[in-house]
Amino acid sequence: MRAIMIQIVTVVGALLAGLTLAIVINKARREMSEAIDRRRRALLEPAVFEYLGAASSKPLSGYLPKRLSRRDRRLVEEILLAAARIVKGDTRDRITAALEGHGSVQGAIRSLRSRRRFKRADSAEDLGLMRSREAVEPLVALMNDPEPEVRIRAARALGIIRGTTSIRPLVRALADPSRWSAIRVAEILINVGAEAVDELLAAYETLPRHARISALDVLGRIRSLRAIGLMKRCLEDPDPDLRARAAHGLGLIGDSGTAPDLIKALADREWPVRAMAAKALGRIGNPAAIPSLREAMKDRQWWVRANSGEALRGLGQAGREALIDIPFARHMAVSQLEEGRIIEQSVSDLTSADPERRAAAIRFIDRVTASARVDERTRQAAEATQESVRRALGDVLKTPGPGDRGRP
């Protein structure tokens, strides 16, 4: 037993010593490597930046030392990729040319065939930064990779490189079963912008349901007027998610001419569609929607009321008037006025030199207090620094508001 115990202690002790040694060696190796990198980088960076700033057609190799080690080649690539994240225009093109000349593009394309998925993902990410057209075809092929993580890097790279050849597989990738991948592809397409609209419209009918939802969202966020027809059609779709997304998209596009369709959607049988329609009408800012939004404040669903209130708040004076006069959902209405700092503005108008403005402010606060939410006004009256504000608010609060008239 003793012998076994000694053996176990020795093994654990050796493991412990090995572990400690591993930490020390790892740290020493890393720090040494970083120190060498820093030294070499200080030498290579000025040469790379000189190349980037130059107007001549001399290749990057002409600026660098004659013999480059593997470390140097890696550092040059790192410097170029770091610069690629920041610069634009001609300098950006020079980076691509340098990376092509340096062999980095070819190296990254070769790495796309690696058995290690992280290596494939890393290379795809780098190819996006390199923006080389040579990479389009291999990246399109990579969109069929079994790993979602790799597919999304390829999609991102294609989104950066752009061009029709790159966009088509991206639109198809909206159908990716991984929701996170689809979200990221949608973001990529949004960044591509107007160039993606035609491909999206052409592919829409062929996409599965979840991809259609993403497509509508992308089209809305690109704010393409060409998508309005499709969005209007989708407001009639049997799928409520598609209807809601279409309403949201129309709001993002912001074309005032779509207000009648959205007003109709305010009466949809599904509350998410009604809520999105209310939000969209607020975004569009068409005053014709005020009566319908006012009606929507009666909705059973909190979100529909909240979005309608917010929409009315954003619809100028008429919208605010509608919010004050609403006989239902008064707390929501007053809360909207308060969150929009409209009540506060009226309180500060009480000290305005303009008598009309003062009178309007008194009328406004008078009507707000009729909603019975007078606590905050009472506090404001007590705390106001100016005597005129305290007096005006005090008067309003003492006299019953229009809504209270006739109450016992």
Binding site: M5, I8, V9, V12, I23, K27, A121, E187, V334
Partner: protein, 479 residues
């Protein structure tokens, strides 16, 4: 059979049993460490800077309500709120709940952020204590301060949930600082698995010894006192060596109250935080597991190792004793409340592995350890002690203890490297060795005492006495 022979038989049986227990315990620890090691490596390799960039820019990123319960936090609350308002994240709000503080917590907030009372409307979805007022700031539209009568941390968090607007909420302790990119990192699993994700926790690191400026940790350092340094190693072991492992086994039971992100609808579905629990964070996670398992829904509760929350730890044994007493009582309480999950195959790995682990090792471990020392003395007096074997066993126990601590330091060193200097590394390894001589035994004693208090149903809030963050010296040239 004499009393002496019975005693001898008991001592011998215990000693034999302890060897098996020791082997099993360290085997489980080793296994957890191995799982954690591979998980950390996988995590580091699949972390792409561009993902966070995209999460930051995307309109599809979940908006988050950060809820900060505060009770008598006048000393640190302003810095905490400042750091929260400066987080690198798209859409978020900060909801500070002043839980009936008797110091100037509210006044400091009102004064610093020029708060005004507002009639904000909210749904009282979870039952909470009376709210005295809600304050908003014109300069900081994403800041809401709720002033309420005291009802405890759970009540304050539930109030925050009621007032919050967004579908995810992040609970942050008022004495903690979350790093600038912490939300971007902790929300990533929610972006990757939006249907399944329910909760995610980040790593909690120790701020004692670090320099803080304007609510940011600007220089990372180790505490000067030995007690907090031991806790640094202990936290590294618990988070990097334990929680990562449990998380990858899909049986994470603890998301630290100092920093956790939750899907609001699921938390509301289980009735929110439980005010009667000593450790509302553990209780909430267990309730979520039980509810979601029973509903048959596919879900995830995960630990993400790189969003960092910095928090202050006790620097005296008196405060540490109170803190650990509460933690352990909370653990016992939750294990008791959810006993039907224990060894229940319907609850999968949680029922069959995680909960038995907590019962067998976390709850019984301290007893075995303390009893072990008693038995050694008894064996010696009874002439049963094989000194050679005992010495070897003790060396092995210390080696294993040090091994796990050093392994956690190794994980830190190859992954996140928050403690950059050689002196940090040396001190951490040294603390990993020294904590085995006194610190761990004291912790075991605290836990035994907590068990006794639990049985007597004695309650004591493990109130933390704060020293406040160590301010960084002014920048040269600063006015």
């Amino acid at each position: 059979m004499t009393w002496m022979s019975i005693l001898v038989a008991i001592v011998l049986a215990f000693n034999r049993w302890v060897i098996y227990y020791f082997g099993l315990l360290n085997g489980v620890y080793l296994l957890l460490f191995l799982v954690s090691f591979f998980e950390v490596m996988r995590f580091v390799r699949r972390t792409f800077f561009s993902d966070y960039e995209q999460i930051l820019k995307s309109e599809m990123t979940w908006p988050i309500s950060i809820i900060v319960p505060a009770f008598n936090e006048a000393r640190t609350i302003v810095e905490t709120v400042r750091s929260l308002l400066a987080v690198n994240y798209g859409q978020f709000e900060v909801v500070v709940v002043n839980d009936g503080s008797t110091d100037s917590t509210l006044e400091r907030l009102v004064e610093t952020f020029e708060l005004k009372r507002t009639d904000r409307i909210y749904r009282r979805t979870l039952p909470t204590g009376p709210v005295r007022g809600i304050y908003a700031s014109l300069d900081h539209p994403s800041l809401i301060v709720v002033d309420k009568e005291w009802s405890g941390k759970a009540g304050a968090l539930n109030t925050g949930i009621n007032v919050s607007r967004y579908p995810l909420f992040c609970s942050v302790d008022a004495d903690s600082i979350i790093e600038e990119n912490a939300l971007l990192r902790v929300v990533k699993p929610f972006m990757e698995h939006p249907q399944e994700m329910v909760a995610a926790g980040g790593i909690v690191r120790i701020v004692n010894g670090c320099e803080v400026r304007e609510g940011r940790v600007v220089r990372i350092g180790l505490p000067r006192k030995s007690l907090p340094v031991f806790q640094v190693v202990e936290y590294l072991r618990a988070f990097l060596g334990g929680r990562i492992g449990w998380s990858s086994l899909r049986s994470l039971l603890i998301i630290s109250g100092a920093f956790g992100l939750y899907r609001k609808s699921d938390v509301i579905a289980v009735g929110g935080y439980d005010g009667s629990s000593e450790t509302e964070d553990l209780e909430l996670v267990l309730k979520l597991h039980e509810h979601l398992r029973r509903s048959g829904r596919k879900y995830r509760i995960v630990f993400v190792p790189d969003p960092v929350c910095w928090t202050e730890v006790p620097s005296t044994f008196r405060v540490l004793a109170r803190q650990r007493n509460r933690w352990h009582r909370g653990l016992l309480q939750s294990l008791w409340r959810h006993k039907r999950m224990m060894l229940n195959p319907d609850h999968g790995v949680i029922g069959m592995l995680a909960l038995p682990y907590f019962l067998l090792f976390e709850t019984l471990g301290p007893f075995v350890e303390i009893l072990g020392y008693v038995m050694v003395a008894l064996s010696y007096f009874l002439g049963l002690l094989n000194v050679d074997f005992f010495v070897l066993f003790m060396i092995l126990a210390v080696f294993f203890g040090v091994f796990l601590s050093v392994a956690a330091v190794l994980l830190e060193e190859i992954s996140f490297r928050r403690y950059p200097g050689w002196e940090h590394l040396a001190l951490l390894v040294l603390a990993g060795v020294l904590e085995n001589f006194g610190y761990r035994q004291v912790l075991a004693l605290f836990k035994v005492k907590a068990f006794y208090d639990f049985l007597r149903r004695r309650k004591a809030w493990g109130r933390m006495e704060r020293e406040g963050f160590r301010a960084a010296p002014e920048r040269p040239g600063a006015a």
